[in-house]
């Protein structure tokens, strides 16, 4: 098997340049998709027969929640790669993820609350999805906290990678346990959101938003990754080339 691609992804200057080249290819489609989805979701899509115009919060809530989970998955995967193959670039990716993930997790929590108040008459429901999201936020915050508490970069990389992996094992268990707990304490029908089918003019903006947020995350991650690589490799010769 040819492993040169693997070594290329382990080389900071190569990744730095590749990230710079790729950023606009993610950023522009992301911006266009989000703008189109905004128009589609706020103007073209008809009001929901039960929730009226309130359902339109889904167009910002669902993508935020989706991205927050995906950021954690990317963070944990790259942390594991960094830990196993001692790949510095992978650690830099994981380090770049945490802030993005925390911000989207917070956004999904607050938009969820803003949706909950008119729909169920309360800001907060002890719903499995909300609780799991809250735990996810704590994991991101803990990850950032652990990183910043360790001075040596190599140690911080590897200790936080262990934490990210422990979190991945735990998240499904936490989610399941809260669902089980919720089924005992609350009638499950309260939170029934999913419907058998969404009309296409409601669904299309949602799918565009999901894709747009995903590409947006990719673009932001690439920019942060470049900053992270420059900071980590500031003594290396290639840094002198790229900034001069």
């Amino acid at each position: 098997m040819d492993w040169t691609w693997f070594h290329k992804f382990g080389s900071p200057p190569h990744v730095y340049r590749l990230a710079g080249t790729l950023t606009p290819w993610f950023a522009w489609p992301a911006g266009l998709l989000i703008a189109a989805a905004l128009y589609g979701g706020l103007v073209l899509a008809p009001p929901d027969y039960q929730q009226g115009d309130g359902f339109r919060i889904i167009y910002v809530h669902a993508p935020s929640a989706w991205v927050s989970t995906m950021v954690y998955a990317v963070m944990a995967t790259s942390a594991a790669i960094g830990l196993i193959w001692r790949m510095k670039v992978a650690h830099a990716v994981a380090a770049s993820c945490a802030g993005i993930g925390a911000s989207f997790t917070a956004a999904s929590l607050v938009t969820g609350m803003l949706w909950g108040e008119p729909m169920w008459g309360t800001w907060w429901v002890w719903d499995p999805r909300l609780v799991a999201q809250l735990v996810l936020l704590f994991l991101f915050v803990g990850y950032v906290g652990l990183r910043s508490a360790i001075d040596d970069l190599g140690r911080a990389d590897r200790a936080s990678a262990v934490l990210a992996i422990v979190g991945v094992v735990n998240l499904p268990i936490i989610r399941y346990s809260v669902e089980w707990w919720n089924s005992i304490h609350q009638a499950p029908s309260v939170m029934k959101m999913d419907r058998p089918s969404m009309p296409i003019d409601m669904l299309a903006p949602l799918l565009m938003m999901l894709l747009g947020f995903t590409l947006f995350f990719a673009a932001v991650l690439l920019v942060r990754l470049r900053a992270e690589l420059l900071r980590r490799e500031r003594a290396a010769a290639w840094v002198k080339e790229v900034v001069s």
């Binding site: 989000i34 009226g52 919060i57 910002v60 008119p118 942060r224 900053a227 420059l230 500031r234 840094v239």
Partner: protein, 55 residues
């Protein structure tokens, strides 16, 4: 037009949700770009302080 902004009475919930989400998007863009700018400036500063010996 004002109907659009009223959002069938859900405006107080809907617009803050959109505003917050787009604030998060904007923060992500700005903070990422600032991080890159600062990292570049820092690298240049270090370069100025410790010039590469010419061979």
């Amino acid at each position: 037009m004002s109907d659009f902004f009223r959002m069938g009475g859900y405006a107080v919930y809907l617009w803050p949700a959109y505003a917050l989400t787009f604030a998060v998007l904007a923060w992500n863009v700005l903070s990422a770009r600032r991080a890159l700018r600062e990292a570049k400036a820092e690298a240049r500063r270090r370069m100025g302080l410790r010039p590469e010996p010419r061979s």
